[in-house]
């Protein structure tokens, strides 16, 4: 409990020391990665198309707030609802195939969403939806104030992570765990594993949508980058790097990757190259990720 309090204190004080926009970006991607990890880390399903939920929710929220003038909470709700519905459709299709095919199917479906966004008029193609007004949350909290916005984003992040934490540490989460370890066994115990996988998929997609919708509030922009397969790859990388066996590992991964992007954004394709190198290093050398390796280290020390 000590360390949770420490992290909370750090998160509350952080915007006075670090550029808030950067922190909010990292928090959005952190939530995105936590949501993604519900599938990869806790159910053993590798989705290579999560950018579709993240990016499309960003578009829906942006469109609702800019064109229809709705309040931020309704905009976010719209984004999450659409992401959930997409998650249901994608999930129904993707869970018909296992393992490696699951990854290919989700990637292909996400690419379909990308092409749709490229052509659909409401996304404004290459320009994206720009200058989205942030408005007032519940009609009172002015989100144009950087600090108010930061604490709202932090609250959304905390709620999202709490939902995943509750899901993982519940009987539902135990069944997901069983599916990851040995699906035939879970079936033989009488669980309808397809339903559990679908529920996990929809939950993960909704929270990825929440992250995307929140990102729209922060940057006042929804663009093709968010639905691109590169973003799907990025969230996989964040999760792997941070450690997919833990709830908070992906957040650490998101902070590291966002930091790298922040510093290297100006020098062309190097971000892609470095991301690729990190992928190769993590997969070949430390598959437990940063947090996983750290926990293993602490465990070893304790035993001595």
């Amino acid at each position: 409990m000590m360390w949770i309090a420490a992290i909370a204190a750090l998160a509350l004080a952080a915007p006075y020391a670090v550029y808030p926009i950067f922190l909010m970006k990292a928090l959005c991607f952190g939530l995105f990665a936590v949501a993604f990890n519900l599938l990869l880390g806790y159910t053993g399903l590798l989705s290579f198309g999560h950018a579709a939920f993240f990016g499309f929710a960003a578009y829906v929220t942006g469109h609702a707030m800019k064109e229809w003038g709705v309040t931020p909470e309704l905009g976010i709700l719209a984004g999450v609802a659409v992401a959930a519905a997409m998650g249901l459709v994608f999930g129904l299709l993707a869970i018909r195939r296992l393992g490696i095919y699951f990854a290919m199917v989700t990637l292909a479906l996400a690419q379909m969403v990308y092409f749709y966004c490229l052509q659909a008029p409401f996304t404004h193609g290459e320009d994206g939806i720009q200058a989205i007004p942030r408005g007032k949350l519940f009609g009172v909290l002015p989100l144009d104030d950087m600090y108010v916005l930061y604490y709202v984003v932090l609250a959304i992040f905390a709620i999202g992570v709490w939902i995943v934490w509750r899901a993982v540490h519940s009987p539902f989460g135990q069944v997901l765990h069983a599916i990851r370890e040995n699906e035939p066994r879970a079936v033989s115990l009488g669980y309808k594993t397809e339903r559990f996988k679908l529920a996990a998929f929809v939950l993960s997609a909704s929270l990825a949508g929440l992250a995307g919708a929140t990102k729209t509030l922060v940057f006042q922009l929804a663009s093709l980058t968010d639905v691109n397969w590169h973003t799907s790859g990025e969230v996989v990388l964040m999760t792997l790097l941070g450690g997919m066996g833990t709830v908070l590992g992906p957040v650490a991964g998101a902070f590291v990757i966002t930091t790298i992007e922040n510093y290297l954004a100006d020098i062309g394709a190097w971000v892609t190259i470095i991301q690729g190198i990190i992928f190769v290093l993590v997969v070949t050398l430390f598959r437990r990720g940063i947090i996983g390796e750290a926990l293993a280290f602490v465990e070893r020390r304790r035993r001595q």
Binding site: L46, L93, R96, R97, L98, G99, I100, Y101, A103, M104, V105, L107, A108, L109, Q111, M112, F115, Y116, L118, Q119, W229, G233, V236, L240, G268, A269, W270, V271, T272, I273, Q275, G276, I277, I278, F279, V280, V283, T284, R287
Partner: protein
């Protein structure tokens, strides 16, 4: 003018030919993917990057060394194939005991590195590559005008696909390959060097991708992103066809190219998404794929 459902026959044939050419790329690429998957149980995400490298190596050979198309058609696959052998020996072989997903993730990382390096070196504007002298121009077939190079691509891709099929179904090496796909431990017990077979297969798959890249070089602009653009479509093709049969993946590749071409004629808005829609429908009706076996 002769029309077909209100579409001039010339335009229809032109789009069908384009579709057939795309289909040729899909077929050769999904063939390589299926070969690698069969033996290594890895989905080679770097397949697109290897395709892109094939095109770039051909362009580099011509630009820096003056080596022409015909030699590049041999040399570029060789270079990329050797590069594949290196990757398999240094990196991939560490992962065989782990979950198959790690192979996908590793090759995804490799694809990012290759794409990034070429983007860093050549930007994303794209390079052009002229078809060889002998294949420039075209012939009038009466119902359509056939650019010679396009005809050549379709014929040669088809020939390569058939040769690979014959090699796997009719030769001793192919028989070993099939046996090792079914049961590697048993084949190894008979004294066959299975790790060597695996390395060779990965190298060959990479070389096939590069070959498709060289074929494509004079057709499209050579650009670092060409690989990732096509590989995602090829994944959908593989899901539709299922990776169980060689001829099945070839047939699916060409067929889907044609469908894409037809969509461009009759409903152009959907031409970039039609393959994904077909994938969704196939998943609903026959989840194992058209030519796939259920697990």
């Amino acid at each position: 003018m002769v029309t077909f459902f209100g579409v001039p026959i010339q335009a229809l044939m032109g789009q069908l030919l384009l579709g057939l050419i795309n289909g040729a790329s899909y077929a050769v690429l999904s063939l390589g993917l299926a070969l690698i998957f069969g033996l290594l149980n890895i989905i080679n995400f770097a397949h697109g990057a290897q395709y892109m490298m094939g095109a770039f190596v051909a362009w580099m050979l011509l630009t820096y060394a003056g080596i022409n198309y015909w030699l590049a058609l041999l040399v570029a696959p060789l270079v990329v194939g050797l590069f594949g052998v290196l990757i398999e020996r240094l990196l991939l072989h560490r992962l065989y005991k782990l979950d198959h997903l790690y192979g996908l993730l590793l090759t995804f990382g490799l694809a990012l590195i290759m794409e990034g390096l070429f983007r860093q070196a050549y930007g994303i504007s794209g390079q052009s590559y002229d078809p060889p002298q002998m294949l420039q121009g075209g012939v009038n077939l009466g119902f359509m005008f056939l650019p010679l190079y396009r005809g050549w691509v379709v014929v040669v891709a088809l020939a390569v696909c058939l040769a690979v099929w014959a090699g796997i179904e009719k030769t001793r090496l192919g028989a070993l390959l099939r046996a090792a796909t079914e049961n590697p431990a048993l084949v190894r017990a008979f004294g066959v060097n299975v790790p060597l077979l695996i390395t060779g297969t990965y190298g060959f798959g990479a070389a096939l991708a590069a070959f498709a890249g060289v074929l494509a070089a004079p057709l499209y602009s050579i650009n670092p992103l060409m690989g990732s653009n096509i590989i995602i479509i090829v994944f959908a093709v593989v899901v539709i066809g299922g990776m169980g049969s060689i001829l099945g993946s070839v047939l699916t590749g060409f067929g889907l190219g044609l469908v894409e071409g037809l969509t461009k004629v009759f409903y152009p808005e959907a031409s970039s998404t039609v393959i994904f829609v077909i994938m969704a429908i196939v998943l609903l009706i026959k989840p194992a794929g058209l030519f796939g076996r259920a697990n």
